[in-house]
Amino acid sequence: MKIRSVLAILKKDILDGTKNYHIVLMVLTPIILSLLFSKLLTQGQSSEGNMPEFGFISSPQQPLIEMLLDKGMKNKIQFYQDRDSLEAALLDGKVKFGVILPEIISENSAPDKLKKTVILIYPPSIPEFAADALKNSIESMFREQLHIPVPPLPFQLKMEPLASNSGSGGGMSDNIFPMLILMAIGAIGFLALPMSIVEEREKGTLNAIFLTPITPTEFIVGKSLFSFILIGITIVLILTLNDKWNDNSHYLFLVSMTGALMTIFAGLIIANFAQSQGSVNSVGTILFLIFQMIPTLQYAGDAIAKLAPFVPSTYIFSGIKKTLFFDISKISINFDLTMVFCFTLVLYLIAYFVYKLKKADK
């Protein structure tokens, strides 16, 4: 393979891409949306400054509550009469977590009261893998507030997801960035790349290219490299402009760019079969929507939740979310990474055989 030819395709695509409003829009849309949502969410958070983070079903005279109020958590606590109103508040995003205290619990509760169960209700946007981490973090928070340096706590914390299928409610802020990164990966892989190849075919520039000594492999590598770099740049801009870099960012890149490769292979398969840019648009948009929506809506209903494990973006989404919002030294992303690698490999093999068969056919 001649690197010079690959770089020539890459350079031409960069020059052409900056003047192609389709490509520019595909890159700019997730970036602008990230800035917009970031701004909106920040505004939301500032008004949330005095908003309670915990919804409690308990008597304010409960010693534990009194203690928390004394420790300066007054603004972090809101009381509810029953579970229904607490769940409604959770769904509306008025509180982040719900806590049900069944009976009197205090700092001096005897060990025999360990059996007392405190129920912590968390929003459906928090995936199962994160519930354990959340439990630990809430327990440490209680421990800190109650001055109990080592376990056990005077109660047992039971985690319960919010039993609702009416939407993900207050989880938007956690989902938005993974969703926008998926948008960049999907739009460029499923749409921009195959459209660019089919445009070359429709305009006949592909014929002109193949009258030069370039090989089909060099052409495909050059085209794919452009899309790969474009996705990389988009993700860097989303993270930079929204100040989202953290210690896990290299893992975020590993998951995202492997996912990018996967969509690029899918894009190459689409380009092979599509007769026109219109057909790329139809097929690519359907794939893009599935890719984009299934992971973000998987907590909204059983049917989508059942479908989600078969959609590769579920694992990309989960991996990105973990790297953005969790300490991955405590939550493993190995499963997500493995699944993304497997799906990428499968799509690579399909793309390889599709092009091999086409060459043989020619």
């Binding site: 010079r4 031409k12 052409d16 003047k19 192609n20 006949g204 520039t205 002109a208």
Partner: protein
């Protein structure tokens, strides 16, 4: 002169329709070979087979001793192609288009300056191709095909839909190429252009080559030669046309010469267009007659 292109018994079908029916022809080095025919005759399909874009069903093609499609890698270095549609990157400038193809051909960027100069595009080199006139875009295509100094140059309807000035410039370029030792394989619908430029012509119709030879040879052989005889009878001007190809007409002309003093005698030479219509069938007139 040696043959640089040799096509032998070439055939191609699309489904049940055979579009090229076992054609054979040779093109000599440094000549301009005109490949003519009505729309749908199979010209572009033949060219696409010759440049390796599509495979032939049967037959042999050799260009400069290289076999198509077996030696395509080497052939790409000696063949330049200007297709019948303007396949350039519209959003890129003329120069960016040429530099891209120079990179793919592993050619130095100084060659870009050379071809820009050759086709008189230097002053337009920074313009985006989408903003160029059809003639300038066509010159960009020619410049692109000339980057690697091809030995054989395929031009598919290069002056189609161009204004007379642009067309003249392109014809001059074609002649310049020939004089520099390039073999030109030209298809065109303009018979005057073919007559003016081509050393040899092949006319294709419905997948077959129906006539070939030099333009003059074809006109002499196939075209209608006539004499127009004008004379005076009782103060009234008479005009009679005689074909020189029939004995009867020649005898009538001789008799007229004896009886009436001529005022004017014109010879009328056949045109390439008449040759073309004669060998491809004048479909337009035929259909008009049928309708009547």
């Amino acid at each position: 002169m040696n043959n640089i292109i040799s096509v032998d018994n070439l055939s191609k079908s699309y489904g049940d329709k055979q579009v090229v029916k076992g054609i054979s022809f040779n093109v000599s080095e440094c000549e301009i070979f005109g490949f003519l025919g009505p729309n749908g005759a199979g010209k572009t399909t033949t060219i696409r087979m010759m440049i390796g874009e599509i495979g032939a069903d049967s037959g042999k093609i050799e260009i400069a001793g290289l076999k198509v499609p077996k030696d395509m890698a080497q052939l790409k270095t000696i063949v330049g192609v200007v297709p019948d549609f303007q396949n350039i990157y519209d959003r890129l400038s003329v120069r960016a288009n040429l530099e891209f193809f120079a990179s793919l051909n592993s050619i130095s960027k100084t060659e870009v300056d050379r071809v820009l100069d050759e086709v008189f595009l230097t002053e337009h080199q920074q313009k985006a191709c989408k903003n160029l006139s059809r003639g300038l875009r066509q010159r960009t295509l020619i410049a692109r095909a000339l980057l690697h100094k091809p030995k054989v140059f395929f031009l598919d309807e290069p002056t189609s839909a161009l204004d007379p000035m642009s067309a003249k410039l392109i014809r001059e370029l074609i002649l310049k190429l020939k004089n520099n030792g390039t073999t030109v394989f030209l298809t065109t619908h303009y018979m005057e252009e073919a007559d003016l430029l081509c050393d040899k012509i092949a006319i294709m119709n419905q997948g077959n080559i129906v006539a070939s030879g030099s333009p003059q040879g074809l006109k002499d052989k196939i075209g209608r030669k006539a004499v127009i005889y004008e004379y005076n009878v009782d103060g009234e001007m008479q005009k009679v046309e005689f074909s020189l190809s029939t004995k009867e007409d020649r005898e009538k002309l001789a008799a007229l010469l004896r009886e009436h003093e001529p005022i004017k005698i014109h010879t009328q030479e056949a045109t390439l267009e008449e040759v073309f219509l004669s060998v491809t069938g004048d479909k337009w007139n035929n259909s008009k007659e049928n309708n009547q």
